[in-house]
């Protein structure tokens, strides 16, 4: 298990957004987290990455406790994340966005006396990531000028730059056109071969086709967890989605 949570709970005042969630993410798998709006999915992510403090419970990443660590410490420990709303360095070029993300784990990141272009490692690695994600063509454009789909892809690129062992993706296909979605699914499948992915997603086609495990959250509680076939048949899950057809 690469990531384990034990009775992870988050209170916002009187609201229990996430309650006693026990998550077991197996190494090298694609693990999806689904659930209706307000189920606590993003709150769960925010606790995993240290964005918001945990109320009670523990988080273990690669057998080390990360519950109380700060976001930058968790990033360095090897958990990368993309955000539901794009968070990019919008005024900077695409390449500079990824270079800055790579630079966070490079030697010389604190250097104040040499020109940043003297450090070739972050530039080379950033170019390699852009090649892989087919973003090299827009490398010189400002991140803020890209189409929404490309910005979502850049989000993934930035998360990859930290060379994470575990990648948390918050709705990677949200707002994407069908074409872009197909490309993203292909990319996620490819990434799934070399690192562990935890994905929050609403697109059921995507979830069912790429996940090895699915965890269903509803009102902060885990109501089901298992392989896609089991989840499809689970009556509790159907109820949570108000009878919605999961294979749609």
């Amino acid at each position: 298990m690469i990531l384990i949570t034990k009775d992870l709970t988050k209170h916002f005042g009187g609201l229990e957004a996430v309650s006693k969630v026990n998550l077991n993410v197996e190494d090298g798998t694609i693990h999806s987290i689904i659930g209706p709006n307000g189920a606590g999915k993003t709150t769960l992510f925010n606790m995993l990455t240290g964005e918001i403090p945990v109320t009670t419970g523990q988080i273990y990443f690669q057998d080390k406790e990360t519950t109380r660590l700060k976001p930058y410490q968790i990033a360095r420990a090897g958990i990368g994340r993309s955000f539901q709303q794009n968070r990019l360095f919008k005024g900077l070029s695409v390449l500079e966005n990824v270079r800055l993300a790579v630079n966070a784990r490079c030697r010389g990141r604190f250097n104040t006396f040499k020109h940043f272009l003297s450090f070739s490692q972050p530039i080379e690695e950033a170019c390699a990531i852009l090649e892989e994600l087919q973003l090299m063509g827009v490398a010189a454009r400002n991140a803020g000028e890209l189409s929404h789909g490309l910005q979502r892809t850049l989000e993934v690129a930035m998360a990859l730059a930290a060379r994470p062992a575990l990648l948390l993706l918050d709705e990677p296909t949200s707002g994407m056109s069908p074409d872009e979605t197909v490309k993203m699914i292909r990319l996620l499948k490819r990434l799934g071969k070399r690192l562990t992915l935890v994905i929050i997603e609403h697109n059921m086609n995507l979830v069912m086709s790429i996940s090895s495990t699915i965890t269903v959250l509803h009102q902060g509680l885990v109501i089901a967890s298992g392989p896609p076939e089991e989840i499809k048949k689970n009556p509790k899950v159907h109820q949570a989605y108000l009878g919605g057809n999961l294979s749609c």
């Binding site: 990368g80 994340r81 955000f83 968070r87 360095f89 070029s93 500079e96 966070a104 604190f110 003297s118």
Partner: protein, 337 residues
Amino acid sequence: MNGSKFLIRDALGRKTGLVDRHILIVSGLSLLLYFILPFRTLPTEILVFALGAVSFNILLGYTGLLSFGQGAFFGSGAYTAGLLLIHFHWHPLLILLLSAFLAASIAAVIGFLSIRQVGIYFVMLTLAFNQLVYFIVYQWKSLTGGDDGLLNIARPDLSVLPGLTVPLQTNFQFFIFVWAIFIVVLVVIRRITDSPFGRILVAIRENPDRGRAVGYNIFHYKLLAFIISGFFTGLAGGLYTLFLKMVPITTVDIITSSDFVIMSLVGGTRSLYGPILGAAIIKIASEFLSQIWSRWMIVLGLIFVSFVLFMRGGLWGLLLNLRKKLFAPKMEGEGRS
């Protein structure tokens, strides 16, 4: 691979040496100030404030921190230099260095306490700390002279080698001294802003949450930006003392803080050179306007408001746009060949 090399240059810009065309142009133009302007002390004052504005812009333009506490750093540099000049007869460069270090330590404390907050709360904290420093200076009469400030400070000459002393007594001699320091500091600050560290500051300005998520300890970087800004602002303060041969209490005033803000915004915060332009324009405009009309501050205020409303890039942004419009086709042709 040539293609990707061009792409990388398009995306990241060109690597610059310590001294390049830009620095030479700024050196030349700032030297010219002395010969163009009819006022003999104004050019020196412009360079001192330009130094303060450039230091302030490390916070606003590069890190995205609107600090209203620069007066505390400028003033503490000025008072440190004043007190050292009165009580000890040390080398002026040593005195400037100590002024910078004291201002940097005050910046470290104020920064440490302010950057825990963001947005308006951060701005108010820097403002409050500036006032705190002001009232300490105001009340501590035995040390600082209170309302009167420090008076009758002698400006020492600059001993370079045993037996070789450069006089700093005339306006021109002192101008050259300030000009030389200004250029050296500008080169240093530019190198800092072009370094990996400087680029991280820009990342923090663009999106601190993303900066955190990719693994930067934002707090450390912001604090270091504060210390660096405080250091050079304090140096400017020390130079101001040598320039005036006295320290008025206005140096530590929040008006001084807002002066740096106005200069940077008028000049343009997205460039290292914008604030220099802003400092020159504001200082020259106030000098001329104050001779014409006693309510000249109103005009200055209008200039500032119109810049914030209509020219967000400041004068520097305006110049860049002009250049783009005039030379765009030609420059593109150069890039392709």
